[in-house]
């Protein structure tokens, strides 16, 4: 085991898959000599050359569409869109083309592409470089949507995504890029669609993902000192969603808080809440399911405003306490 960053884990996944399979290649804006806007692909250009680490023009539609076209004809492209906000420019290619080809062609096509894109706020880049758009992609059958929260998950999930025969939207969290975590040497795969219990607990479940996992874990430790035992579950893959693990955890603790930084209205938390409410977990609940999403605003620039546009540790703690109070067990 060695400690590496989330960014290094992603690079290791790509590099190992490119060494393993000559059909895998990387394309996107500034992914070459520059090494990617967040430095994720530093050194890959030197190792694999410009044929397999391809700088593109600033043309998000053709980056996504060319990846779909290369995938459907036999390659396994990894396309990078520099900020997830700019996937809006690629939407036709992702939603109407890549996601649809297999079904509308009667199962004859495979589209084994990965679209990597940094999402989330916290960098001071304001409203057009800070969004969390995962719910949009989850609304499109044919896509898979992955958001890893640790270096270990990032590497194992990205390898699985590259080997998957479907278009996978792989959302990386900008604020996690520099965070370190233990990652084993060499090859390992984390199956898509499998949630992970990041911390076991018996009183209340937090379901969260991406860069909200570290604050949720921190809050869990703090509340443990106050006698509240918090379980933290990370779905890791939003589509397909590991409903069973979420339902089991909700049944176990009887209280659920869903935390994500994406704006609350229409956010993926609503889907998770509905899945639980519609399951046998409902009969085990001691309090209504609670959601804590981002405020329904574009991400503001000013640091204090930006920080408070998404769930903070204080708000998470407060929400847990409210949940505990509202229950018979409290």
């Amino acid at each position: 085991m060695s400690e590496i960053t989330y960014a290094q884990a992603i690079k290791e996944a790509m590099s190992e898959e490119m060494r393993r399979d000559e059909n895998v290649f990387l394309m996107g804006e500034d992914v070459g000599l520059y090494g990617g806007a967040f430095g994720v692909s530093v050194g890959m250009f030197e190792e694999f050359g410009e044929e397999r680490v391809r700088d593109t023009p600033i043309s998000e539609a053709v980056i996504a569409g060319a990846a779909a076209g290369a995938a459907v004809t036999g390659m396994r492209p990894i396309a990078e869109i520099m900020f997830s906000d700019f996937t809006t420019i690629s939407m036709d290619q992702l939603v109407n083309q890549a996601a649809k080809m297999r079904y509308m062609f009667g199962g004859k096509a495979k589209v084994p592409m990965v679209l990597r894109t940094p999402g989330g706020s916290g960098t001071g880049a304001a409203a057009q470089h800070s969004q969390s758009l995962e719910a949009w992609f989850c609304h499109v059958p044919g896509l898979k949507v992955v958001i890893p929260s640790t270096p270990y998950d990032a590497k194992g999930l990205l390898k699985a995504a590259i080997r998957d025969d479907n278009p996978v939207i792989f959302i990386e969290q900008k604020l996690l890029y520099r965070r370190k975590g233990e990652v084993p040497e060499g090859d390992y795969i984390i199956e898509l669609g499998k949630a992970d219990v990041k911390r076991e607990g018996k009183d209340v479940t937090i379901i969260s993902y991406g860069r909200m996992i570290p604050p949720c874990l921190k809050v869990a430790e703090e509340l443990a000192a106050e006698g509240i035992d918090v379980e933290v579950v990370d779905p890791r893959t939003l589509l397909p969603l590991d409903k069973d693990t979420l339902i089991q955890s909700a049944k176990k603790t009887g209280r659920v808080l869903i935390v994500h930084e994406a704006v609350q209205t229409g956010g993926f938390g609503g889907e998770i809440a509905a899945v639980l409410a519609d399951s046998e977990a409902f009969y085990y609940l001691d309090a209504p399911i609670k959601r804590l999403g981002g405020l329904d605003i574009p991400i503001p620039y000013c640091p204090e405003l930006e920080k408070n546009a998404v769930p903070t540790e204080e708000k998470i703690k407060e929400a847990i306490k409210t949940l505990m109070k509202g229950s018979a067990k409290a």
Partner: protein
């Protein structure tokens, strides 16, 4: 140029003389396309085909001329008006008709319909319901050919309307900087739905847009199958060496944009004048006058074409609808 002069130019110096076999194959494919569309129009009027469909009547020379210059392994991306492209690329008429009737035996098991027919085994990587949807895909497909060192090309069909989409510009630019073997073939049928090209772009020829990407743009008479064939054949060799090219085939759609189109935005006279230039009649005339095929031979090809379409209709009508059990199949691989 008059038609006669064009014909002379086609079989002129430096261009291969097309074999009787190839020309007759083009003739029957153009007939298949016309008859297929007439049958679809009929089915529509009978309420047997649902949704919408975009008929290709009048543009047969473009699809068949272009695809005849390709190998089976060469790839095409197609459009919402793609029946001709499919037939040009040698698709199975039975499966195609079955797909339009939503049958299990159709190309897409009844899930794609008119706008989504694909046959990856014959290089057709898909029709497309989105205007301009195929541009970027064709660039990616050409990238595959390059990276796998395959000596084939991609032909990207699109219309004049699609050349106003952002994806057109992004795709031409990227194909150009990466020198990818793509033939961008614009079928300029003079209307983007109801809007004439004069009101949607401020250039006469789509082909001039190539200059913005440092590639060659050429114009060809899209109603002349032989001219289109030569243009694409030549382009095929060119793009392997030099990267993409843009060919604009000038043609005309006789019918409305889709079945909901009452066709009120153009005059009967205009449509009639283009019907005079029917690409199928024109090829037949050429075959006869050049002494390549006799009238009897051509009559027999026409009879064969009708039989093929009737057979496709019979196959489609006798095929079952897909079982409801298949509704969830093939969302994911």
């Amino acid at each position: 140029m008059t038609e006669k002069e064009l014909d002379a130019a086609q079989q002129g110096k430096g261009q291969e003389t097309l074999s009787k076999e190839l020309l007759e194959d083009m003739y029957i494919k153009m007939l298949h396309t016309r008859l297929f569309e007439e049958k679809v129009a009929y089915f529509f009027s009978m309420g047997m085909v649902h949704g919408t469909t975009h008929l290709y009547v009048g543009e047969e020379a473009s699809a068949v001329g272009a695809c005849s210059a390709l190998e089976v392994e060469d790839l095409i991306t197609s459009t919402h008006r793609g029946h001709g492209h499919c037939i040009g690329k040698g698709i199975d008429l039975n499966k195609m008709m079955a797909e339009l009737l939503g049958k299990e035996t159709g190309y897409c098991k009844g899930k794609g319909g008119s706008m989504h027919i694909a046959d990856l085994t014959r290089g057709n990587i898909g029709a497309n319901g989105v205007v301009g949807g195929g541009h970027a895909i064709s660039v990616g497909a050409a990238l595959t050919l390059r990276m796998k060192k395959q000596d084939n090309v991609v032909l990207c069909f699109f219309g004049d309307g699609a050349s106003n989409e952002g994806s057109f510009h992004e795709a031409l630019n990227l194909a150009s900087v990466w020198k990818l073997p793509v033939i961008f073939l614009c079928e300029n049928n003079l209307y983007g739905m109801s809007v004439p090209v004069s009101k949607s772009m401020n250039v006469q020829d789509v082909a001039v847009r190539a200059a913005a990407y440092g590639i060659e743009g050429r114009v060809v008479d899209g109603n002349d199958a032989i001219a289109v064939y030569h243009a694409v054949k030549e382009a095929k060799e060119y793009v392997k060496e030099n990267g993409p090219i843009l060919i604009e085939a000038k043609t005309y759609r006789w019918l409305g944009h889709s079945k909901s189109d009452a066709n009120v935005y153009r005059t009967k006279e205009e449509i009639a004048s283009w019907k005079e230039k029917c690409p199928i009649k024109r090829l037949r005339k050429y075959l006869e006058e050049a002494g390549i095929s006799t009238a009897e031979e051509l009559d027999s090809i026409e009879k064969q074409a009708k039989e093929d379409i009737d057979k496709a209709v019979e196959f489609a009508q006798n095929s079952p609808y897909p079982s409801l059990d298949t509704i969830m199949d093939d969302v994911y691989a």
